[in-house]
Symmetry: C2
């Protein structure tokens, strides 16, 4: 029932640290809680109720309590969660107590923007290397880093202790880059290229596909339109026009 | 049991189009199937087995069959799915049979890259307007579009029939922009700002937070490291160093 499970908890001396195998949806929400908690801490709050935290994180409070119970955090009745302690716990579980080095491959339009994105540094990451296959881009300086040729990846990965690879190449080049990242021992990849990567067991890939996000919204637009349509009315017309035969 | 449920199916004449309320995870996978199907069509395939499609989309085949069954698509035993028909069905469900107009608010580093991203056009979307609150950016031309002041949003939304708003502003400005989008009738928002938006019922918000994707990968890195650690070995040391107290 302690809110403080991992770090220096009574009885943990000599124990193997056991990281819970959390549901993927819980893992995806922990960063939201973390950001909300940092905002609360910045505003001087020392404790927060589950309702307060759930509102700040945009998650319903029953879900939040369940998520945090996976970490062994139950808060204190009438007081809530200790903000600093919960930040420490979540940062521990997310492995953010060390700053991870990121290699970004592909500095085209999107990669260029990512290289200059200042939202990573404050949240546990350091863009440590920029690489590109295009010789005309090699040598370019972006945000204080010089673009290197992707063939230098093996050397760069060792020098910079790269933990995470970000792929921002065109789709046609992405699999080859993924293979190169895996070959140099990178086991976590964030893929912005609109394609499915094939990687060996033990390599985690997260994908961000901007068009897919829009397509999901499109579904909801379409569904909202169909719900407000009158029988035989506008939406039916739209269907016929849109699909034809 | 027909693969062809919505468009012009026998008996649908005069029926109200009923869009199934699909599980959110299914909605998120439909664009993956669609992309894989387009690739198959481009390569000249007329049919595809569920195994073939699931491999191309990077989704397991039982999940794929279940997802498609929500659309009333069961394929044909021994033949599989008709590629063209399934593309039509998914595009219909996702509302991609009309090209939706997107307004992008915030043309800083990331917004600039999004404005120039050519991955939207082929997938059902048209960036129809760029807006920014910074007067020094207004008038700038990006990819053939002139940046307009965000105060022009009401006029732009009507002129361009904006269906989806994309927010790429700093976190501090995002809620105000969301309010402005909602005020002009936009009910679908893609938010790149690292913050939670509060919107009325009936407005859908999808969020892309690049640092959160890295934090999720960090969890998996951390967990992989803890699984390979020996009892009392490196990982335990890491824990103590990392957390202290």
């Amino acid at each position: 029932m302690s809110q403080h499970r991992h770090p220096g908890a009574p009885g943990r001396a000599g124990a193997v640290p056991t990281l819970p195998d959390l549901p993927e949806a819980t893992v995806a929400r922990l960063p939201e809680y973390l950001r909300a908690l940092h905002n609360l801490a910045d505003a001087g709050h020392e404790t927060v109720s589950s309702e307060g935290l759930s509102a700040a994180a945009g998650v319903n409070s029953a879900k939040l309590r369940k998520d945090l119970s996976h970490l062994g955090s139950y808060g204190t009745r009438g007081v809530g969660y200790d903000v600093t302690l919960l930040i420490e716990q979540i940062e521990y579980v997310l492995g953010l107590t060390q700053r991870r080095a990121v290699a970004l491959v592909g500095v085209g339009n999107l990669g260029h923007a990512l290289a200059g994105y200042d939202g990573f540094a404050g949240r546990g990451f350091r863009i440590a290397a920029l690489l590109d296959a295009d010789p005309s881009r090699v040598g370019e300086e972006i945000n204080g880093l010089v673009v290197r040729h992707v063939d230098e990846l093996p050397a760069v990965a060792v020098q910079e202790s790269i933990a995470i690879g970000v792929i921002a190449t065109p789709a046609a080049a992405a699999q080859r880059v993924a293979d190169q990242l895996v070959a140099v021992g990178v086991t976590s990849i964030l893929n912005f290229a609109p394609c499915v990567l094939s990687v060996p067991e033990g390599v985690d890939v997260r994908k961000v596909d901007l068009a897919i996000e829009l397509q999901i919204l499109s579904f909801h637009e379409h569904r909202k339109a169909s719900l407000t349509a009158l029988p035989g009315g506008l939406a039916a017309t739209e269907t016929q026009e849109a699909i034809g035969t």
